[in-house]
């Protein structure tokens, strides 16, 4: 479904990710793990069109999307939940969600399903997004991404700033989504949660893919254990 080859991207100072290649098949949940500064955010931003890659190809369901702007890519069936969420702070939960399906009118069914998935949002329909807590904002960001009925959802460190309980709830929701057939690509520092969700994963270090494998394989790898699972 998503195929990335030779992706190199960065900022004025230089490239941050070099020659990255990975793929995500339909129905899978794939994780990209790495520590701070590994380049996960840069990778995702260049994937989704918020950053123009220096080189490489990105194909989504046969479409060549590398270099396209985010607003075009997002209409092809991919949704992105950035680490900073980028919600519309002075608009209500409802308005934020409704915009998720732009340019289409929000589908009442989808809206209901999102509210079921995140009950807290339903309680706060009319609350302004900027006044909500971190966890609630994260859920809203996910909900908004879901309103577009994406076939692939990409999340950049969804647990940023979340208390463990809320992080768990977020991943629980993601699990449900995966079970319903949504393809998921997630970048995560909190590896155990991502591992529980994902089928496969890649390890990103210093902007390059160092390792790949199934979750089980990665979990049993001693380097991974040491670096990301806190095993000494």
């Amino acid at each position: 479904m998503l195929e990335v080859r030779g992706l190199t991207a960065g900022y004025e100072g230089g490239d941050v990710v070099h020659d990255v290649a990975f793929h995500v098949d339909r129905g899978e949940a794939v994780m990209i793990i790495g520590s701070n500064g590994a380049g996960k955010t840069t990778l995702f931003r260049s994937l989704i069109g918020l950053l123009t890659p220096s080189s490489g190809t990105v194909r989504f369901e046969g479409h060549d999307i590398a270099g396209l702007p985010a607003q075009r890519i997002v209409r092809l069936g991919v949704s992105f939940v950035p680490a900073e969420r980028h919600l519309f702070p002075r608009m209500t939960v409802h308005e934020n969600l409704a915009l998720g399906s732009y340019p289409d009118r929000p589908d009442p069914d989808t809206m209901k399903r999102v509210m079921d998935l995140f009950p807290r949002l339903s309680e706060r329909r009319r609350q302004r997004a900027g006044t909500m807590s971190g966890g609630e904002q994260q859920m809203l960001a996910m909900g908004r991404a879901l309103m577009a009925k994406p076939r692939l959802i990409v999340l950049d460190e969804p647990t940023t700033g979340l208390a463990p309980k809320l992080a768990g709830e977020a991943y629980q929701a993601l699990g449900e989504l995966r079970d319903r057939g949504l393809t998921i690509l997630v970048a995560e520092q909190q590896v155990p949660l991502a591992m529980a969700l994902s089928d496969r994963g890649y390890v990103l270090e210093n902007g390059a893919i160092r390792m790949e494998g199934t979750s089980a394989q990665l979990a049993s790898d001693p380097d991974v254990q040491r670096a990301y699972l806190g095993v000494v």
Partner: protein, 359 residues
Amino acid sequence: MSDRLTEATGTSLVGGAEQRSSRSLPLLLVPILGAGAVLALVPLWLGDSGVLMGVAVLGVAFACYTIGFNVIFGSTGQLFLCVGALAGTGGYGAAILAEEVGLPLMVSIAAATIASSLIGGLLSFVAVRRSLGVIFTGIITLIFSLSFEALVLGLSSLTGGDTGRLIESGADTFLRDRIPPYYLMLALALLFLFVHGLLRRSHVGWAWRALRDDEVAAELAGVDVARYRVYAAMVGGAMLGLAGATFAFTEGRISPTTFGFAEVDVVVIVMLAFGGIGSLFGPTLGAVTFTIVDEVLIEFGQLRLVAYGALVIVLFLWIPRGVIPTISDLFQRRYRIGRTPAERGASPGPEAPGSEDRG
């Protein structure tokens, strides 16, 4: 081209040609005196015409204004849209002190100069205290400009309001002759250049460069950014006031249009942008060029504005740093002179166009 503006900071338009030699005084004096010598020849050519000499005097006055503005904006990136108002503080202030209060001419000029220096410093202080960015500094100083104009119009008993007033002091002296005012203003301009040049080579100039490049880094390095900003504003303010006051006495009459925003600020900005924001001789080049161009085009009346507008657009799209820095850069790149060996070794190509959102 617009790569230069891709340095996504407000002061990217600012930043003159690097001052290479911080050493010998002759290196500073020679070009200044040279320029002075060339400009000193102008009366030989135009001296017969009262009108043309008037234009020349105005031109040198504008050179003084532009140098003052350059000290404020070019050195520290403070967009002071009150050049006319500061010069007017000098002009009207000195006139009122001399005419109404009866102070001697020199004292009036000195007092008015101090006043504009203090006002410049105050504006800068306020802007720094409130952390106003370039745009807001511009707006606040614009408001000051407009207030000044309103004040001048309002206090018509002192200022002559809309029609302006005559200045009797100095009426029988050389100040009102045809040619001496030119040399007087020229001397001022050269003095300003000298002062600006000295400052650039001193620790003050070093601090200015540091805070222009990266304000945060400068603060961390121990530079009191606020203080050096205020210094720049005070020096620039003093220059503007002094030039305004002197000009007023050579003209013999002043009115709101002598120091108005549209008449002074707009012109000064274009002159400086053309010559080179931050460069030492940029203002002079800009002032001379524009005085000549404006005079040549005078018969087109308002249509000149169309040309100037087009020029502004072309200028900021293609040579945003102004003529002198751009030429100096081209020169350096061509011949790699003026660089230390370290710089030569690590010479970069044109900056990679970055579109990172830094908003």
